[in-house]
């Protein structure tokens, strides 16, 4: 189980430069970007869009 728990700092020396990492991997490695997306998508599509529809329900005559 400890195959990758290499605490030796030199291990990171052969890791690729950040610009070599594909964009999608960088996105998935960025928890705070994911946090923003994970809040924004449901807030916009579910809550905000939904509440706009509720407020536009016409008044019965």
């Amino acid at each position: 189980m400890n195959e990758n728990n290499n605490m030796d700092a030199s291990a990171s020396d052969d890791s690729p430069a950040p610009e070599d990492i594909p964009l999608m991997q960088r996105v998935l490695d960025n928890p705070f970007l994911l946090l923003v997306l994970g809040i924004a998508v449901p807030a916009v599509f579910y809550i905000i869009w939904g509440i706009i529809e509720i407020t536009q329900i016409p008044i019965a005559d």
């Binding site: 690729p16 594909p22 329900i57 008044i59 019965a60």
Partner: protein, 177 residues
């Protein structure tokens, strides 16, 4: 393994096994099909819940319902007026603690504009045994066109919890030839 960082530093460029790709393709296609099935049913299906709704004060809704009751009551049943509105007309059904008011008598294969609203808390319109379920809110009315296609006696129960008398909230709709 899943408990340790990926063994390849750049895992995004690792190839994906064919079996996984096939399954992703199947799942995605099925998702698209299910998505368009809902849209398709709006055009081709006969069972689509209306999205027609209005904001309405409980008092105003009750007045409209009372007008209908005064005009079209044909008899009484267990203390409930039985109302037989003309085919094609606007029919008002009041949900309140703990009654569906009044009892309705509808003609088979005729369309009615059924208005639902609550006088107090939320209620659940649950028509049995056809199992049609619609949520009823106070302050809003939902208007749906219904066309009963089988004659009989339908039970109308409340399936949104509305306090201690919830389980006694039973109404009725008669569908006659």
């Amino acid at each position: 393994m899943a408990l340790t960082p990926p063994s390849e530093r750049i895992w995004w460029r690792q190839p994906i096994a064919k079996i996984e790709l096939i399954w992703i393709f199947v799942a995605f296609t099925w998702g698209v099909l299910m998505f368009f099935m809902m849209i398709y049913w709006h055009g081709a299906g006969e069972q689509n819940l209306s999205n027609e709704a209005y904001q309405i004060k409980p008092k105003v809704f009750a007045e409209k319902a009372q007008k209908m009751i005064d005009e079209y009551t044909v008899r009484e049943e267990n203390g409930f007026p039985v109302v037989r509105p003309p085919a094609g007309s606007d029919v008002y059904l009041i949900a309140r603690l703990w009654q569906w008011w009044p009892v309705l008598e509808l003609e088979k294969d005729q369309s009615y504009r059924l208005h639902l609203s609550s006088m107090d808390w939320q209620h659940g319109f649950s028509l049995q045994p056809v199992n049609i379920n619609v949520q009823v809110h106070p302050g809003y009315e939902i208007v749906m066109t219904v066309k009963p296609d089988r004659a009989g006696e339908y039970g109308l129960i409340c399936n949104e919890f509305c306090g201690i008398g919830h389980h006694n909230m039973v109404g009725k709709i008669h569908v006659v030839e």
